[in-house]
């Protein structure tokens, strides 16, 4: 195994251990309640960047995948009282199937047309769920949390830990894509799809793969939100805000390296949480917009570009 890979997994283990220790030592639930959202955005942004960053297909349908994750959990809870891990696993499967569908769109559509089609997809799915009585329809549905699993002493803390696990899964997946020939192939097709094809890159297969993995991770990241809020309704589960936030986080962080979306999500997610507490949750959107404009003008390659981390990508792969 390469040195950097060992370092990465040591870091991941240390992160999870740290999160676990936090859940044992801090009594107050609120930090976990807020931190959960930040971790959730890390998962979504990293997952989004597989398709949006490496492959250059800007997916505006993050909310579709997220909502599908939420409602898969709702359905499983209501029909079978399925445990949390089953909800996440099934959400990942459904998300990957939806990803396959989005992948087929890339056959015919590129650029802005692809992005618009993904918005349309989100609207179609939201409308279907709104009219589906079994999962609560437009009014939404209240959900009862099952008893918490030891060693955790509160459900929110457990969800926080589970979301941290998903962060590790998402980052490890993205990192392995970035360091493999798949990453280089995606980068090539982002730069020039025809030239990539003629150079031997199976562009359709790579695009489908990127869509499937990205979709599975986003839906998996959305599944625990059902029990986190103990409530789900189509309007919030399929909120376009998810798409916009995730896009902003990835772009502000920088999409050339997996660390970019992680940084972007932590920076923007933390800012949003602080603003929501101190001022109002509506100001979030304004700040998000301003930061996006600021970064697009001043640092088009995001935080990564600012720190010129790019050489990392070529030589030492981390």
């Amino acid at each position: 195994m390469q040195k950097s890979t060992i370092a990465f997994w040591c870091g991941a283990a240390a992160f999870l251990a740290f999160v676990f220790v936090l859940t044992r030592t801090i009594g107050n639930e609120y930090p976990f309640f807020a931190g959960y959202v930040i971790l959730q955005f890390v998962v979504l942004s990293v997952a989004w960047s597989i398709l949006g960053g490496y492959a250059g297909y800007v997916n505006f349908g993050t909310n579709a995948f997220f909502g599908v994750g939420v409602y898969t959990a709702v359905l499983l809870l209501k029909a079978f009282e399925a445990p949390l891990l089953v909800q996440i696993a099934v959400a990942a499967i459904i998300g990957s199937l939806l990803g396959l569908g989005v992948g087929l769109l890339t056959l015919r559509m590129r650029g802005i047309f692809f992005s618009i089609a993904t918005i349309a997809l989100a609207i179609i799915i939201e409308t279907s769920v709104t009219n589906w009585r079994f999962v609560g329809g437009a009014a939404g549905i209240q959900l009862q949390r099952p008893p918490v699993t030891p060693p955790f002493d509160s459900y929110v803390k457990m969800l926080f830990f589970v979301q941290a696990l998903l962060v590790v899964v998402a980052v490890a997946t993205t990192r392995s894509i970035q360091n493999s020939r798949i990453g280089r192939g995606l980068q090539a097709l982002r730069d020039d799809e025809l030239a990539a094809e003629c150079t031997g890159v199976p562009t359709l297969r790579l695009k489908l793969l990127a869509c499937v993995i990205s979709g599975a991770l986003i839906s998996a990241g959305g599944a625990p939100a059902a029990l986190y809020l103990q409530y789900a309704n189509p309007e919030s589960a399929f909120n376009l805000n998810y798409s916009v936030s995730v896009l902003a986080m990835s772009l502000i962080g920088g999409t050339a390296h997996w660390i970019g979306p992680v940084l972007g999500a932590i920076l923007l997610g933390t800012t949003q949480q602080l603003l929501a507490v101190t001022i109002s949750s509506e100001v979030n959107v304004l700040v998000l917009g301003c930061m996006l404009v600021l970064f697009v003008v001043a640092a088009p390659k995001g935080i990564l570009g600012l720190f010129a981390l790019l050489p990392l990508r070529k030589g030492k792969r981390t």
Binding site: R184, A188, R190, D191, D192, A196, E197, T199, G200, P202
Partner: protein, 247 residues
Amino acid sequence: MIAADQMPLLRIEALTRSFGGFVALDNINVDIRKGERFGLIGPNGSGKTTLVNCISGALRPSKGVVTFAGSDITLLSPNQRSHRGIARSFQIPRPFRSMTVIENLMVALDFAAHRHLLESALHRRDAAMAVLTRIGLAAKADSPTATLTQVELRKMELARAMATGPKLLISDEAMAGLSTSEVDEVLDLLISLCGEDIAIIMIEHIMQAVMRFSERVMCLDAGRIIAIGTPDEVMGNPRVQEAYLGT
């Protein structure tokens, strides 16, 4: 039955391609041998690049069959054709702009059909450097493609095409804008490739290059073959002169 070594590498039969009502290629029939140096000429808009697109898979022909190394490839995607040994450069260079020169070649090597021969990334890097050295771009290996001149971009495209390990290389005006000595340099390179049994279809407007390079020349005009034969025969053909100079 034709013996395997005499079988053409590429066979184009009754190939027609139309865009709406406009017939860009009309009933093209041609065979290209293994290792052949084949010149393709014709005035602007005569269908040269359309033919290249039909061979490399960027376009599907409206009618007709393309056979490569004995199998029908008419419906294959460009990447499948690349794996079978068809490589091309583009008339207007299409580099992977976010990458360095060597990374451009690494794309070809990472996805090449002969990848198993170059198992480790280190071997692939060596192979890429070897191609760059051969084409005279070794000094630029780690430069971003955005910093290259047009001439260097064209050379890089040839290098990237060579890195896929082709049996047939299509060079679409790779020499446009090159100085006389650079043209000779690229010609020597292409001729040496043919010595390794790589067939080359060269599209070029620089006549002395076509004359020096080609064993056979084909001239297209308005989507039809108006002459095919040795360079001297084709240049002497009155229809070719008419197409180029007008009446």
